[in-house]
């Protein structure tokens, strides 16, 4: 601590003439503990060193000198019973300046109130009035006229510039506590992480894309989906390569033909159960419907009739995925079955690898690999060659990934690099992992603000889209492999965005949410070189000739 004589010069000269005043008090404080005399030790910036040895300081400075706390090291030494030579104590012998005794006792109690002044303060912005500057400090003191003679007090007051008869008043009642009680603040504390929304991008323009492009933050179209089941584990929206969107609203399945806008109800689930998943075959002609009672129905989309029901699962079928004539179904009990839709004995394979509900299931385009994500936080990648394996054989997964810390519902294969698999975890995880399924390594990870409910890769750009639940309810577009955020549409829905489906052309993404809306977002552009029909063909790799020959 360093002190600058901020007392006005007028006062300083006055105090010089009043030396008896200070001299009288020396005796009082010579008996005081040594901590008083420690005041100036090592104090190189002290103004008294430079301003001459003979001039006694004003009482103000004495007061501060008297209230120095014993330093930690000194206290430690004292408690050990040893004061080291060369320590603070030994330095005290060297008087580099006049020792200024503290003021009379009556004053010392109050004088502790004077805070130190640091001359090195970088934050002082105005220095034009040094007299005023010290005034705040001086006024912290108050002389007590009762305990000393009036003349003494008057001299003291004149010397220090401290006005006498000053009162410090406070309002008689303490300030009210915050109206929010302890319970509320505790709840606020608990809820805070849910509301902690990370910073948004300043614009919706992707800084990462080479060409500045604007992704509309308003949906192209909104469809009502009354009664859609607000359940994270279900997969209720799918878009076929024939540009038909299937959506399950409780027990009923509807198809919406994107070209004509026509809506057709395909069928009603049996009494007492609801549709838990829908999935189109790769050619778009057939729709698989998973039911909550464990049955898997097969529908002809064009003829709008049910072709067969494949029963056998013991519990709800939460996920479906097609690979040519194989329809794989993920069940609540953790099993994955392969159904060959062409043969009467439809169950041609069973994959046991999950302890929890299989809520994410995706075949790779070429049918080589099947990825599954479960409520047990595990991602499994299975070898897709099932033909020559006898039914019931428990094959082991090719890769087992346990990096996620929450249910894995979002599973998506990259359309332009077949080894890439993206998986996203639920609320506790909120992370997207991108895997190389050839080597089994984790290539990239991306932490997102909230649960990842689905992932869609862009067929034309090196980007992928994720949908999110509470609190952001967002649709986000990320660049790959930089994993930078291209765009974020906050509050895309009023409730958590649970499902997404990409159109066959690869430009529109449909999202569904618990707010009973389906929204269509134009996220990407179709490259100009391949126009409409061509893009459609290559976009989803639809096969012109149906492999399914069961009719």
């Amino acid at each position: 601590m360093a002190y600058t004589p901020k007392t006005p010069a007028r006062h300083r000269t006055r105090s010089e003439t009043k030396t008896p005043l200070t001299g009288a008090s020396v005796n009082v404080f010579n008996n005081s503990p040594t901590k008083h005399s420690k005041a100036g030790a090592g104090d190189t910036t002290n103004p008294f060193i430079t301003s001459g040895p003979s001039r006694p300081g004003s009482p103000i400075k004495r007061t501060t000198g008297g209230s120095i706390a014993v330093s930690k090291s000194l206290r430690r030494q004292a408690s050990a019973g040893v004061i080291r030579k060369g320590g603070v104590e030994s330095r005290l012998d060297v008087v580099t300046r006049d020792y200024v005794p503290p003021p009379p006792k009556s004053e010392t109690k109050r004088s502790r109130s004077q805070p130190a002044r640091d001359t090195r303060d970088r934050f002082i912005t105005t220095r034009e009035t040094p007299v005023d500057e010290v005034a705040a400090t001086l006024d912290l003191m108050s002389l007590n006229p009762q305990t000393s003679s009036p003349g003494h007090t008057a001299r003291l007051a004149a010397a220090t510039g401290v006005p006498i008869n000053k009162r410090i008043l406070a309002y008689h009642e303490p300030p009210p506590p915050s109206a929010s009680d302890a319970l509320l603040s505790q709840q606020r504390e608990l809820v805070r992480p849910l509301y902690a929304r990370p910073g948004e991008l300043p614009t919706s323009n992707g800084a990462t894309s080479n060409k500045a492009r604007k992704i509309p933050t308003q949906p192209e179209r909104v469809l009502d989906a009354p009664g859609i089941v607000d359940d994270f584990y279900l997969n209720l929206v799918h878009w076929s390569s024939l540009n038909i969107l299937a959506v399950a609203l409780e027990g009923a399945t509807y198809v919406w033909k994107a070209d004509s806008g026509e809506v057709v109800q395909l069928g009603e689930a049996p009494e007492g159960c609801y549709v838990s998943s829908v999935n189109f075959s790769q050619d778009g002609l057939y729709l698989g419907i998973g039911l909550s009672n464990g049955a898997v129905e097969l529908w002809d989309v064009e003829a709008q009739q049910k072709l067969r029901t494949m029963a056998g699962h013991s519990a709800q079928v939460a996920s479906l995925s097609w690979s040519q004539h194989i329809l794989s179904s993920g069940c609540s009990d953790g099993s994955i079955w392969h159904h060959d839709v062409r043969v009467a004995k439809h169950k041609v394979g069973e994959l046991i690898g999950h302890q929890g509900e299989v809520c994410g299931l995706a075949w790779r385009e070429d049918g080589e690999l099947l990825a599954s994500g479960g409520n047990d936080n595990v991602v499994n990648v299975w070898d897709g060659r099932i033909g020559d394996v006898a039914p019931g054989t428990r094959t082991a997964a090719k890769w087992v990934k346990r990096n996620h810390t929450a249910a894995v519902k979002a599973v998506a294969w990259c359309p332009w690099q077949s080894s890439l698999l993206a998986t996203g975890g639920g609320t506790n995880d909120a992370t997207v992992h991108v895997w190389n399924t050839t080597t089994g390594s984790r290539l990239h990870s991306l932490t997102t603000p909230s649960q990842v409910t689905s992932i869609q890769w862009s067929p034309h750009r090196k980007e992928f889209l994720t949908t999110h639940g509470f609190p952001t309810n967002a649709v986000m577009v990320h660049a790959y492999p930089s994993m930078e955020r291209v765009c974020e549409i906050r509050d895309a829905h009023d409730a958590r965005v649970l499902w997404s489906a990409i159109g066959p052309a690869g430009d529109i993404v449909c999202t569904g949410a618990g707010d009973e809306n389906l929204k269509f977002w134009k996220i990407w552009d179709i490259p100009k070189v391949k126009k409409s029909k061509q893009a459609k063909e290559s976009g989803r790799g639809s096969t012109s000739s149906s492999i399914l020959g069961i009719r």
Binding site: T64, F123, A136, R167, P176, S180
Partner: protein, 209 residues
Amino acid sequence: MPPTKQAPTRQAITLKGSTNLVTEFFKYAVNTILFQRGVYPADDFHMVKKYGQTVLITQDLALENYLEKILSQVNKWLLTGSITQIVLAIISKDSRTAMERWVFDVSLVEPPADTSAPPPAKPESEIQAEIRNILKQIVSTVTFLPVIDEPTVFNILAYTSESADVPADEWVDTDPLAIEAGKSQQVKLRNFSTDVHRIEAMVAYRYDG
């Protein structure tokens, strides 16, 4: 406004006007400090436009009334010129030790000796700009003030002259709630002045360096 010629519509600021201006400044300064230093939870405050910027003001009725009571008395003292300092002390709730002292010195501007040519009145926009700068500086102090991670309360102290008219049952003599000299750092803030009053701001904070 040219300094030589005064616009006929604009009167020089009166004592009463200046007092109200200063009182209002205290209100916003206190609110700003209470918000910035987290004495009250952030959602107790709402934003208002004042001095050409947004200022956070408490919407807790109890606190609002409490400040109102204090400031109305401060207003009276300002009118009689018996107040010399306002201190907002931030105190640890548990240990009752003072953590920060926000000191506002009030001084009367001395009228110049020669009354023949009164100085031109200070334009209100200039006063507001000075006030705005103080409030901004209070906000910016959070960058260097130590982080307070314990519950705190505040207390407003008024330093008055002995002769001041004190409502007996409402205001009581008190301890200055000072910070020990060795553990205190001080930072002088900006000041502002009306034609009648001059306000100097300063913050002292506990710093066990």
